[in-house]
Amino acid sequence: DAGVTQSPTHLIKTRGQQVTLRCSPKSGHDTVSWYQQALGQGPQFIFQYYEEEERQRGNFPDRFSGHQFPNYSSELNVNALLLGDSALYLCASSRGLAVYNEQFFGPGTRLTVL
């Protein structure tokens, strides 16, 4: 049973560019959350998708957008990249929206903005 997978593992972009990160949830999971983890910091919640809709959003600008597909996989898009967007982007999946359902994290995508 594959866990949460993310692609690519590493990515280098320049300021002003756009990037798309991808996530496949754990088998049986239908809810996907995205987090940004800066070096030496804890993950920060970006948003959560369920039934192809954004259900919750953290304190991130509109440059950060996402999508969830019918197969529950998800994409995170970041436009007009800034140096400060350099971070590890984590995807987490769970079954439904219930608070106590365990979230499983993927290994992350390391984004470097030059």
């Binding site: 804890g42 919640f45 919750q56 984590l90 499983f104 992350g108």
Partner: protein
């Protein structure tokens, strides 16, 4: 805004000793707390959780204590092993809408197990 924080950024313990990692939270509305372990190059891994109606919860070699009076959370690891070396995060769940989960993480504690 309110956030979860940690008292110590690093902790070194001898193999076989017990480890205690502390966490302070400031949001009195938080009702659910989780401890995660993150090894280098990996995503966070669930260790143990506790709901706000509990004071203590035990797992395999781990115990979480919750003191709501002083808004403090701790993770105790018994007989610490080299494989326990990692960054440990506490996270709290704040449900602004009462439905979905939105986790707020602390900045983490680096645990190093010495031989």
């Amino acid at each position: 805004g309110e956030s979860v924080g940690l008292h110590l950024p690093t902790l070194s313990v001898q193999e076989g000793d017990n480890s205690i990692i502390n966490c302070a939270y400031s949001n009195s509305a938080s009702d659910y707390f989780i401890w995660y372990k993150q090894e280098s190059g990996k995503g966070p891994q669930f260790i143990i959780d506790i709901r706000s109606n509990m004071d203590k919860r035990q797992g395999q070699r781990v115990t979480v204590l919750l003191n709501k009076t002083v808004k403090h959370l701790s993770l105790q690891i018994a007989a610490t092993q080299p494989g326990d070396s990692a960054v440990y995060f506490c996270a709290e769940n704040v449900e602004p809408s009462g439905s979905a989960r939105q986790l707020t993480f602390g900045s983490g504690t680096q645990l190093t197990v010495l031989p």
